[in-house]
C-alpha cells in the first residue's frame, strides 16, 4: 500500500483525544468519506489491483489475523520476561548483549515450538498417529467451546448478553452425568437420554434469566452472573449427597458414567476424540440454519437489531427472549456433555473449569457466526491443548494460554486499535463487533 494512505487512515481512526473521536456523523462510525475509497468513481482509473489490495487490508479477517499476531507477540514478551535464563543474562547485558538475545530466542523458540507440537503436529513422535495426535487433542478441547460458543452467539445476535454459560454448562453436566451413572439403559438409548439430560439442564438454567428478563426486565447480565455462582454452590451441595458420590467414598466426585452413556470414540482407542465433536459440528450447521434460514432465527435477529421495531412488526419479543435463552442454555448444557460423557466421564465442581467464560471469548472471536465460532473454538481448543506440552517442554504455566486468549479478544473487540498498531487502512463502513 502507498505511504500517505496508511498514515492518514490510522490517525483518523484513533484520535488522541476521546472528545475528538467522531467528527460528524454519530451513526456511521467516525470514518469520513475519502476520495480514494474503493468503489469511488473519482478514484484512480481502473487500478484494479490496488482496489483488491485495499479490500484485503480493510477486511475484518486481516484484523483477526493481526490481532492474533499481536497477542502472540505480547505473550512472547511475557514469556521472555518471566524466563529465568533471560533475567540472568540480562544482568550482564552491557558486557555481552548477545547472551541476552540468545536466551530470549531460546525461551521464545521453546515456548512456541512446544505450543505447535502440543496443539497441531508432533514431529518427534514415532508413528503417524503420534504425529497427528496433538491435532485430535485440539479438536477434543474445542468440542465444548463450539457448543457453548454457538449458544452464546445466538444470544449476542438477539441482543442478549448471556454471561451464564458457566452455570448452564454445569447444571447440564450435572443432569447428564446423573442420567449417565444412576440410570442403566440399553446401548444407544442411554447416550441419547444423557445428551438430552445435558441439554435440558442447561435449558432450565437458561430459562430463568430469559423469563426474568422478559417478565420483569431484570438485566440478563446480572442474573446470569449470579446464576453461575448459584449453580456452582448447588452442584457443590449435590456432590455432598450420597446419591451423587461413589459408594463408600465421601469425596465430592461422582461415579464414572456407564459405558453405554459415553460418547463413542471417533478414531479408535488411540485418540480421545469422541463423537461429541461431530455432534458439535452438526449443532453448528443447525444453528446456521436456524439463524439464517428459519423464521424464528429472523425474529431473533430482528429483536437483536431493534426490539421496538420487532415489536411494532408484530413479533413477540418476550417469547423471543425466553426462547433465545432456552436455546443458548441447551447448547451450553450440551457443552457440559463433552467433559462428563466424553473426556473426564465424571462430575466434580471443577467440571466447568473456565469453559463458560472461554466460550464467551470464542463467540466474540467468531463474531457470533457458526462457522466463525467453530474456527475460533478450534483455535482456543488448540491453545488449551498445548497447555500440558508447554508445562512439560518449556516449563511454562498453562496460564500464558489464557493471557493470549484474553488479549486476542481484547484486540478483536477494538479493530481501530489493531489497525493503528499495524497501520492498516480503515474500511469505509466499520461493522459493529461484539453485539
Amino acid at each position: 500500500m502507498s505511504g500517505e494512505e496508511k498514515g492518514g487512515a490510522a490517525e483518523e481512526r484513533t484520535p488522541n483525544e476521546p472528545e475528538a473521536a467522531s467528527p460528524a456523523d454519530p451513526e456511521t462510525a467516525p470514518e469520513p468519506p475519502r476520495a480514494d475509497a474503493p468503489g469511488d468513481p473519482g478514484a484512480d482509473s481502473g487500478s484494479r489491483s490496488r482496489t483488491v489490495l485495499r479490500e484485503i487490508l480493510e477486511s475484518s479477517t486481516l484484523v483477526v489475523i493481526m490481532a492474533i499476531v499481536a497477542s502472540l507477540a505480547i505473550g512472547g514478551l511475557l514469556i521472555v520476561f518471566a524466563d529465568e535464563d533471560v533475567r540472568e543474562a540480562a544482568t550482564y547485558f552491557f558486557s555481552r548483549p548477545a547472551d541476552t538475545f540468545q536466551a530470549m530466542g531460546d525461551a521464545l523458540g521453546g515456548a512456541y515450538s512446544a505450543m505447535f507440537s502440543g496443539a497441531v503436529l508432533n514431529f518427534n513422535a514415532n508413528d503417524f498417529s503420534g504425529v497427528i495426535k496433538p491435532f485430535t487433542q485440539t479438536l477434543t478441547q474445542a468440542t465444548p467451546l463450539i457448543f457453548a460458543g454457538l449458544g452464546l452467539g445466538i444470544g449476542f445476535r438477539a441482543g442478549l448478553f448471556n454471561i451464564g454459560a458457566q452455570g448452564q454448562l454445569l447444571i447440564g453436566a450435572t443432569l447428564g452425568a446423573y442420567v449417565g451413572f444412576a440410570w442403566h439403559l440399553p446401548w444407544g438409548i442411554h447416550l441419547l437420554v444423557a445428551i438430552v439430560g445435558c441439554a435440558l439442564g442447561g435449558a432450565i438454567w437458561g430459562f430463568i434469566p430469559g423469563f426474568l428478563k422478559a417478565r420483569t426486565g431484570a438485566h440478563e447480565v446480572i442474573v446470569t452472573i449470579m446464576l453461575n455462582y448459584i449453580a456452582l454452590n448447588l452442584v457443590a451441595w449435590l456432590l455432598t449427597l450420597d446419591a451423587f458420590q461413589r459408594e463408600g467414598s465421601d469425596n465430592p466426585i461422582t461415579p464414572i458414567v456407564d459405558e453405554t452413556a459415553q460418547y463413542p470414540l471417533l478414531l479408535g482407542s488411540d485418540f480421545n476424540l469422541h463423537w461429541g465433536f461431530v455432534l458439535a459440528l452438526a449443532c453448528a450447521a443447525g444453528v446456521w440454519w436456524l439463524m439464517e434460514r428459519s423464521t424464528l432465527g429472523f425474529e431473533f435477529r430482528a429483536v437483536g437489531a431493534n426490539p421496538h421495531a420487532a415489536r411494532t412488526a408484530g413479533m413477540n419479543v418476550t417469547k423471543a427472549y425466553i426462547l433465545v435463552m432456552v436455546i443458548a442454555g441447551a447448547l451450553a448444557g450440551l457443552a457440559g456433555s463433552a467433559p462428563v460423557l466424553g473426556t473426564e466421564k465424571v462430575l466434580t465442581t471443577a467440571t466447568a473449569g473456565s469453559l463458560g467464560f472461554d466460550a464467551i471469548t470464542v463467540a466474540l472471536l467468531g463474531r457470533s457466526r457458526p462457522l466463525g465460532t467453530v474456527m475460533a473454538a478450534i483455535l482456543f481448543g488448540g491453545l488449551r491443548a498445548s497447555g500440558p506440552t508447554l508445562q512439560v517442554q518449556a516449563g511454562l504455566p498453562v496460564d500464558i494460554v489464557f493471557v493470549i486468549q484474553a488479549l486476542i479478544v481484547l484486540f478483536i473487540a477494538a479493530p481501530p486499535l489493531v489497525r493503528s498498531i499495524f497501520r492498516l487502512p480503515a474500511p469505509a463502513h466499520e461493522k459493529e463487533v461484539a453485539a
Binding site: 486468549q405 484474553a406 473487540a413 486499535l417
Partner: protein, 429 residues
C-alpha cells in the same frame, strides 16, 4: 449495539409509569418472611434456648451471655419481618417506595431468626456474637471497596464488570511490592495502582474504541486472572521472597475500642478497615454534595445534557473509572497484606461479582453499598460459624444467599433498583 436499546427501553418504561401500584416487593419479601416464620419460627422446638455470647475474654467490660427462648425469639424476629412487609404493602398502596434501610433491616431480622434457630438447644456451643460481627465486617472489606468502585464507574456511565479483575490485580501487586520492600503498608500504596491500571484499560476501551463494556469487563477479568496466575507460577515461585505473607497488625483505638460489642467490632481492626470507613463517608458526601459528584451523575444519567453545559463527558468517565479501579484495587489488598497471606491463584474467588451484587442491592449509592456489603459479609461469616457449630443448613445454601438476594433485587422483588440511565452506552458526539 443492540443491548443498549433494550436497556434504555426498560429504563424508560420504569420512568414513565411511576404511578402504578407495584406489589412485587410485597410478594417477594412476604414469601421470604413467611418461610422464615414456618421454618425458623415454628421449626424450632419449644422449650429450648439459644445462647449468644457477647463478650470476649479479653474485653474491658465483660457482658454476660444472653440466653433467649429459641422459639419465641425466632417467631418474634419473623414477625418483625412480616411487619416490615406490611409497611412495604402500605407504602405500595400509596404509590410510594421504601428506603434502602428496609431490605437491610429485613435481611437482619431473617438472619437473626436463622441464627436463633441454628443455635437452639446446643448446650456446649454458643453463638459468638462479637466474633461473628467482627469477621462479618472484615469479610465485607473487599465487597465494600468493590461496590464503591462499581458505584463510581456506573454513576459515570461505565459498567464495571471488571471489579473482580481489579481486586485480583490489587491483591497481586500489593503482595509483590510489599514483599519486595518488606513492609505490608507499602502494599496499600501499590494495590490502588494495579486497580487503576485495569480501570484505565476498561475506560479506554469503552470510551475511545466503544467496545461493549460488558465484553471488556469480562475479558479484563480473564486477562488479569491469566496474568497474575502466570507471574505467580513463574516469577513468584522462582523467587519466594517476592511473595511473603506479611501482616498488618490490628490497631485498637483507645477508649472507643473498649465499648462492649461495638468497640472490638468497629475499632479494633487494621488500617485498611479504617481507610474503608473514610472512603465510604467521603464518597457518600462527595457524590451527592459536590460539583464533582453532580458532574459524574449527570454524565451517567444524561451525557448529552452534560455535554451541552460544557462537561467533558468522556474525560469525566475515564477519570472516574480510573478512580473506581484504584478503590477496587485497594480493596484487593485485603486478600494479601491485610489478611496476612501470600498471594495465591484466583484469590478473589468471585468476590468481585458479589461486590457487583452489593452495588445493585445498595442501589448505586455508597451507604447502600456499605449496608449490602455488610449483609453479604455477615452471610459469609455466618456460614463459617454455622460450619463450626454444625448446622442442619448446608453451607452452600448460605453461600448462595448474596446471589439469590441480588436476583430478587434486579427482578424487582426486593424494592425497585434502577441503574443510571446512560450506563453502558458509549457517548458519541
Amino acid at each position: 449495539m443492540s443491548t443498549t436499546a433494550v436497556e434504555t427501553s426498560s429504563a424508560a418504561a420504569g420512568a414513565e409509569a411511576p404511578r402504578t401500584k407495584s406489589w412485587k416487593s410485597t410478594i417477594g419479601l412476604g414469601v421470604v418472611a413467611l418461610l422464615s416464620l414456618l421454618f425458623f419460627g415454628f421449626g424450632t422446638p419449644t422449650g429450648v434456648q439459644t445462647t449468644f455470647t457477647i463478650a470476649r475474654s479479653s474485653d474491658f467490660i465483660e457482658l454476660p451471655s444472653v440466653t433467649v427462648p429459641s422459639r419465641a425469639a425466632a417467631v418474634g424476629l419473623s414477625i418483625v419481618a412480616l411487619l416490615l412487609v406490611a409497611w412495604v404493602a402500605y407504602r405500595a398502596n400509596q404509590y410510594r417506595k421504601v428506603g434502602i434501610w428496609l431490605p437491610i433491616v429485613f435481611g437482619m431480622a431473617i438472619m437473626g431468626a436463622l441464627l436463633t434457630w441454628a443455635g437452639a438447644d446446643r448446650s456446649t456451643t454458643t453463638i459468638q456474637l462479637t466474633g461473628l460481627l467482627t469477621s462479618a465486617l472484615f469479610l465485607a472489606v473487599p465487597l465494600v471497596f468493590g461496590s464503591l468502585a462499581g458505584t463510581l464507574c456506573e454513576r459515570s456511565g461505565i459498567i464495571n464488570i471488571a471489579i473482580e479483575g481489579q481486586l485480583l490485580a490489587g491483591a497481586f501487586l500489593a503482595a509483590l511490592v510489599a514483599s519486595a520492600v518488606g513492609n505490608a503498608y507499602v502494599g496499600l500504596i501499590a494495590a490502588p495502582i494495579a486497580g487503576a491500571l485495569v480501570g484505565w484499560l476498561l475506560a479506554v476501551f469503552s470510551t475511545r474504541y466503544w467496545v461493549n463494556q460488558i465484553v471488556v469487563g469480562v475479558v479484563l477479568n480473564l486477562l488479569v486472572l491469566g496474568l497474575t496466575s502466570f507471574f505467580f507460577s513463574t516469577v513468584m515461585s522462582d523467587n519466594p521472597n517476592l511473595n511473603q505473607p506479611l501482616n498488618m497488625p490490628d490497631i485498637a483505638i483507645p477508649v472507643l475500642s473498649s465499648i462492649p460489642v461495638i468497640g472490638p467490632v468497629l475499632f479494633d481492626q487494621n488500617l485498611l478497615v479504617y481507610i474503608m470507613y473514610a472512603v465510604v463517608v467521603i464518597i457518600q458526601i462527595m457524590l451527592f454534595r459536590s460539583r464533582w459528584g453532580l458532574r459524574m451523575r449527570s454524565v451517567g444519567e444524561h451525557p448529552k445534557a452534560a455535554d451541552t453545559v460544557g462537561i467533558k463527558v468522556n474525560r469525566t468517565r475515564v477519570r472516574n473509572t480510573v478512580l473506581g479501579g484504584a478503590i477496587a484495587g485497594l480493596g484487593g489488598a485485603f486478600f494479601t497484606v491485610a489478611s496476612g497471606l501470600a498471594f495465591g491463584k484466583d484469590m478473589s474467588a468471585g468476590k468481585g461479582y458479589i461486590a457487583l451484587a452489593a452495588m445493585i442491592l445498595g442501589r448505586w449509592s455508597p451507604k447502600g453499598a456499605l449496608a449490602a456489603a455488610l449483609l453479604f459479609g455477615f452471610a459469609d461469616a455466618l456460614q463459617q460459624q454455622l460450619g463450626v457449630i454444625g448446622s442442619p443448613i448446608p453451607s452452600q445454601f448460605l453461600l448462595m444467599l448474596p446471589y439469590l438476594a441480588t436476583i430478587f433485587a434486579v427482578a424487582g422483588l426486593v424494592g425497585h433498583s434502577r441503574p443510571p440511565a446512560a450506563e453502558g452506552i458509549p457517548y458519541k458526539k
